[in-house]
Every structure is written in C-alpha cells, then in structure tokens.
Amino acid sequence: MRGRPLLYVDYNKEQSLFPTIAQKVLLAIGALIAISVPFGLVPGFKFLASPGWLQLLVIALIFMIGAAGLNIVTGMAGQISLGHAFFMGIGAYTTAALSGSSTEALWGMELPMWFGVIVGGLVAAGLGILIAPTAVRVRGLYLAIVTLGLVFIGQHLFRNWNQVAGIAELGRNWGPFQLSLWDIDGPTLDLATDGEWFGFFLPGQGKAYLFMLVVAALFLLLAKNLARTRIGRSFAAIRDRDIAAEVMGVNEAKAKTQAFAISSFYAGVAGGLYATFLGFLPPEQWSLFLSVQFIAIVLIGGAGTVIGVVLGTLFVQLLPRLVENFTGFLSDQIADGTWLAPIADIVIKTGSGDFGVLSLDAQGAGLSIFQANTVLYGLLIAVFLIFEPLGLYGIWLKVRNYWKGWPFTY
C-alpha cells in the first residue's frame, strides 16, 4: 500500500534487504561514488585516485570481507573470537601453497589466484568447524581465551613451517594478483600493473580496487542476506539466549558450527586476497594485533550489522592515516613556529632529547605512530563498549530513532 510503510502484505517485502526507496537511492549513490573513485571524477574525492590512497582503499575492502566474517560469528552469533587472524593466516598460506611460485625451499603450485583463495577459504572453514565444538562447551571470556590460543598455535606453526610460510621473520612471496582462468602465464585480467580500462588510464591499484569492490560487495551482500535466512535467525537466537534458542528448537551445536565455518571462510578468503595483494608478508603478520583490529572494526562499526562493518573498516583503516597526517601537521607547526607550536611540541617528539608523547623516529621514549594507533584502538574499543555498544551504526540508529519517534521519544 502506498504511503503505508508499516503495512506489510507479504513476507518478501517485510524482509527485503533494502526496504525503503530512500535506502535504495542511497545505496545507488554510494555505489556510483565508490565505482568512480579510481577515475577521479567526483569533485571532492579526486585525491583518492592516487595510488597511495587506492592501496589503502583496496586493503580496506579486503578487511571488510574479513570483518564481515568476524561479524557473523561475533556480531550475529555472539561468539567472541580472537582467533580471526589465525583463520586469515590459514587462508593466506593455503593460497600461497596453491598459487605461489615454487622454489627449492618453498611449496607453490602456480595455480590461478581465485582457486587458491577459494580453497584457502574452504580450508579455513574446515578448521573453523573443528574449533566450533569448543564454542558449544565454553562461553564468553573462556571462548575468547580458547580462540586466543589459536593465534599462538598459528604463530608457532607459520614460523616453523618454512616450506609454506618462508623463513621465519622473513616470510615469502605470494602469486601474482591477477585473474586468469587456469593458465597463470596469460592473465585474463591483470590487476597488478598499470594500464588502460574503459578508456581510462588506471594504476594497478585502481584496477585492484575495482575488482575488490565487486568481490567485497558480493561478500557483504551475502552476509546481509544471511541475517534473514533460517541460519541467520538461528544465530541471532543463539546470541540472545542459547538455552532459550534450544528450547525453541534451534540446534545450538549446529548453529555455532555453521557460524564458525562461514566466518572462517570469510577470514580465509580475506587472508588469501590480502596476502596476494601485498605480495610479500612475514609470518608475524597473523598476530593478535590483527585479531584485535578486527574486533575493533566490528565493535566500533556496530556488532551484528553489515553497514557497521563498512563504517568500522573505513574508520579503523583510515585512522592510522589520520594520525599520520595529524603528526605531520603538528611537526609542520613546529617547523613554521606558529602559535600551535608549543602545544605541538608537547605532543610530538622531534629529536632524541625532546619530550613528546608521539615520536616521529622509532627511537627512545615516546610512542611510534604504530604504537599510538594500537593505543587508540584499545581506547576506542573501551569507549565504544562503554558508551555506544552498537558502535558507529548505533550512533546513526540513535539519530534516526530520534527523528523516527518525533514528536514522541518512544
């Protein structure tokens, strides 16, 4: 019925992914802007077309896939997992073993990237299924510790299994970031080198960006769709109260296994893409810090929602860049001796004898930018958990409900 948004006459309409016209229009505009980014066409977003920014955005898109996976197990099914980095590592090294080039010391079957990534996802999913039974036994903090254990097992494994992960602390190369049907020598789509697409000259990162945009959109849509399926509803039931869910006939063990499997598949795929895109990574990459980053994305963005994953990833991924720009801005102030210089001087440490919270060189006291970011993640997670458990999406929700409830409050 026109003009009666609450009058649902069939289920399809009630649970459609984008129920309102406003949402569809916003989505279309968002998609158009996202597509146009590498072409540098939209005023105000032109700076994003540089290789540096595009590189950052491609990583953000890959992280969105990984975060969407963690969101499934933590946000939708309520199972805290700190082991996300482990599953990403599994995906990455499976991909390496399948699509990397082989040398005397390294395994590599030189198969196409897509095959490696998908199998990587499946292997991770398989391991997820193995882990799931512990989630049926332990809950909350204990589950977090169990999954934390995974990260350390993974670190040990990756460091010592040199045929797959390369020499410890050094790492290995992945296969080329390109799409080909089966023959690795003649890429159907070369995503790594600069070239002309649709009459536009694009840097390799630009091509990678467009490819990742499609892949990420696909994975995010699947995640969003999952929430309205029978499986997704069973996740929500388990999250809200597992005993009540079982009474309603939800098979707890099955639901948790499904959650871990799907989540790990996402993680494996993200790991494979991430490593292949960067081309070279040491085993230390798959550490607790990576897991915490994903937890931060999910919690800051808004647990349980796909839009929260998008917001959270952009926020967390662009934060280091922001901190970097901010310190750059402050050191410029000192150099120019403006009125901000005294304050800037306290915040950043320029020389070895200088006092400052942030240090631009990596020596002596003071936090490096990387460390400052870590501290910021921790702070933000704590702040969001305390003040806005629904994350950035929750803030939007509050704003929206304020107007939706107008002129009442509830």
Partner: protein
Amino acid sequence: MTATIDQPLPSAAAQGYPTVASRVRDWAERTPDGVVLREKDYGIWQEWTWSQLWDDVLSAAHALLALDVAVGDVVSIHSEDRPEWIVLDLATVAIRGITTGLYPTNPTAEVEYLLNDSGAKIHIAEDQEQVDKVLELPADTFPSLTTIVYVEPRGVRSYSDPRLMYWEDFMQLGREQREAKSGAVEALMAAAEPDDIMTLVYTSGTTGPPKGAMLTNANATFAIDKIINSTGRIAGDRRPNPDDQILTYLPLCHVAERIFSTWTMVSSGCVLNFAEAIETVQLNLREVQPTLFFAVPRIWERIHAGIVIKLNDATWIKRQVAKIGLGLAQYIGKARVANGGNHTAMSRLAYFVGNPLFFRALKERVGLRRARWTASGAAAIAPEVLEFFMGLGIPVYELYGMTENVAVATTNFHGRVKLGTVGEPYPDIGFRLDPETNEIQTKHPGVFKGYWNKPEKTAETFTEDGWLKTGDVGEWVDETHVKIVDRMKDIIITSGGKNISPSEIENSLKASPFIKEAMVIGDGRKFVSALVGIELDTVGDWATRRGIPFTTYRDLGEKPEVIDLVQKVVTATNEKFATVEQIKKFRMIPKELDHEDGELTATQKLKRSSMVEMFGDLVESMY
C-alpha cells in the same frame, strides 16, 4: 480502480432486492481481484480479494442450508472481529436468514439469555473461551440450538459434544453442497424481499435485559443511502471508494461498526483491515493509517491520553516543540470551532507552520495521518477532546443515531460543524423534538421493524402517530443543529426540584486524561455528588513521576495526592456549571469497571442501577 457503480451487471436479470450479500456478489463480478479484507496473521496482513470473499460466502451459505437453516432462522456469532464474522454474516443474509452478534465479553448468563431470546439455530463460537460459555450449561438449556461452529480449534478438538463442528469442516460441507445443489443460494438471493429481517442487533441494556432490534434489508439500504452516501458529509464530497481503508476493531454486533465497516465496504468497495485485538488497535492504526475512522468516545479519550503521556515522557527539546505544537493546535482548534470546522486565514497559517513541525508526525504516530473522515458516536464526548483533534487537522465529526433507526438521525456535515452538538438531521428524514418533553423522535424508512418477540416493548417505543421515541432529550442550537441533553431516564431531579443532565457533567470530568469513569448522582438528593474512577495508565504515570509508590488500582485511587488531583479536575468542572449542578462531594471507585462484573454494558456504558447497587455504601457515605 474506482469502478462505475451504475454499470448494469450480467447477473442483474435475476436479482432480488439488493442485500448486503448481493452487493458483495456485484463487487466480486466487477472487481474480482480487488482487495477487500486484510487480516494480520503471522506478522503480515493477509489479503482477501472480492472473489475469494464471495467464494467463501457462497460456501458458507450452502453449509448453512445443509444444516437446515431456513428463511427467517437465526444464526448467532460470538467472536471478535475477523473475516469469518463477515463471511457468516453475509452468508446468512444471502439465504434470507437472520444474523445476531454477541459481544466477546458477554458472560455465560448473557449468552444463555441472548441465544434463547433470539432462538439461534446455529451458533459460531470463536474459540475455547466462547465455546465453554455454551457448553457450561446443560444441552437442554438451548432448545433451538443445533450446531456450534468453532473457528479456533485450540483446546476444543478434544471436546466430544455432538453439536460441535470445526469451521474448516463447516466450509468443506458447504463446498460439497455447492456442487450437489448449485443454484440454491442464488435462488434464495433472487427471492430476497426488502422486508426480510437481516439482523437482530441487541440493545446494550443499560436498564433491563437486552432487546433484539429487528433490522431489515430496506433499513440497511436506507442507512447506506443516507449515511454512507450522503452528500456533504466528507470534505470535497468524495464518497467512500475502493481506495479507502478502514480499521475494523469495534464489535461488529454493534450497529455503528456494522454501518461503518461492513455496510461501507459492501456499498463503496473500500478495504476492511481487521485489528488483531483491542490491545493492538493503536499499533494497527499506525500500520493501516485508515482513511475513514469511526470511534466511540472512549477510544478518542484513550488516544488523547496516550498522546499526553507520551509527550510528557519525551526529551526536553521534544517537550518544548510539543508545547509550541499543542499551543498552535489549541489556537487552530478554537479558530475552527468558531468557524464551523473550517480554517480561517490565520488558522491555516498556524497549520502551515505546525504541520511539518509537529502535527504530521504526531498524526502518523497515532495512525490518523491519512484520515479524511473520522467520527465519534454511540455516546457523548467532551467537546474539548474533539477540539484537540480538530486542532491537529484531523477532520472529526460527531454524529448521533441509535440501533432502532439504523443510526440515521443527525451528523455534523463538513464545513458546518458545531462543537457540542451532534449536528444536523440528515436531509429529507422525519426528525422532530417532542414539543412537551423535547424527546428526539424520528420517522423514516430506516426505523426498525420492532423488537424480536417483544411486541409490547415495540409498541412502547413508538408514538401514537408512528414516530420512533429515541429516549434522548435534545434541544435545537441555532435552529439547525441538535444538542443531546441526556437520556430521558437518566435526567436527575434533585430534592430541590432542579433538572440536571448528568452526562454533560460526567463528560466534562472524563475530558481530563486522568479520569476514566464518572457517575454523577443526585436524584432525589440534596446536592450532586459523583463516583469517580481514575485512568490507571495516566494516573500511574503521574504518580511515578512524583515518586508516589502504589500497588493496585484501589491503592492508587486512595492516595491523598491522587484524591487532590481528582479534586482539581472536579473543581475545574464545577466552574463550568451552575451552583446546583456542581459536584459537592465525590468518592473514588475502588475497582476498574468491567462488563463481566456487570457494572458496564458490552459497549462500556455505565449500568447506573447496578452501580448504585454495588457501590451503595460509597454513595450513602457522601450524604
């Protein structure tokens, strides 16, 4: 999708007198795929088309024939509003039977009385609760009853009473009969007479036992012509049409709901949306956003009180906006009241400011944003409440009528609204005030045939020259509009010999969101007093805000702070009335009044006699 109603129809050749059933058949031929009913089930509004509805009506009619329902037999329906109610009602009329509805709240004793008084042959009981009310009594209590059809099988399946029949089995029987005896229902429809009794509508019985008013097909046609299709009733004179949405929530056994939902549907083709339950009416209103909405004063008062509470609970900024908005609404309301319900230039400007800021969102929230005609009737309403809604831009009209004249008496027409009156008599009907008693009397083709099996009561209802005595005292306002003073028998004569109309004082009290019930006493007494019942929601909210702890309704009502609060309302009311009419003392009613306990009728009207009986001590304590 407005269809041309004047088109001759294929089946027109073999038609009898147009009944509510034949009108549905006509719609099913004209727009078979048009939506006509919606019922919320499993979280969504399931739709019925005209052809589906007519198909079910035909099956149900055949089933009734198979159960030996003959012309003039009574079928009783004891159920909340639901599509089956309408299906069975129409099916009964199609085979020239008589439908009578029972209120879901009717207790066992009243069910016994109503079934035996009407002599119902087939009884539809919605669920286990209603089935039990019949099965509680021995089978020979109901000599005429042969079959009890139940719609909700939960809890009833295990019953072994041979009279029980499940709705689906009933419909299956009908479908089988349809094949075996096709044309039987059509033949009866073709034989329909204007004088056929189509329904018994039982009066609520504030005094004696309920009486079944016999309404005929001709009565229904007259009500449709005069009320639903009257000229000038709705803004822009847009008659009800298939695009209109109605929320069906008041009991269908009441004549008002029958007219404003079923009969409006069959005559105009609009869509009926069934509310899930009386508790969800406000939610369903929001979902359906009806365009035509009829409510009894109690509902209007509830919506009003709900708005007041929720605005009080809002955050600071919203409260400030609400202050401005309500201020504007008050101004607009007053301006429109003074101008026959029309906007003045200034009120239009105020509305233009207030609408985007406040009114539109508020109307959306209460579900009346798309309402193009709303009405209050069936009891008197405080003018303040109507003025409030007018100020929000909701076109609300008070109207008046009664079962015995199929509600054809007076209404406020668009643009000629006079607040505090029930409007003007419909054009070209017999309407007069008795020169001596000022009793309202009507005479027109809508006047009923009489009370079922009660010729002496029927005779009492008519004057010697054949006018229907409504029992309501009215007076002319500006010679065009009618104001209802009170029910004739309710008028109080104090020991000082003064005539007082209690309902006016009661409504003034009830206009406060804190007061739910009020009964003014004073017949043969030295002064006027009142029994007052508080509205639990609002007073509870008020008490919580002030940190006054309370446990039950009674406890809350006896708090000194609450009594002070009520005293303020009483004092404010007293200022509006002459000294003899002022309430000198009042007492709190210690319980929420209820139909099943006998203090209220099924339509939530006070039964004064039983009130006096129940709370006699309280009354005496004041004198």
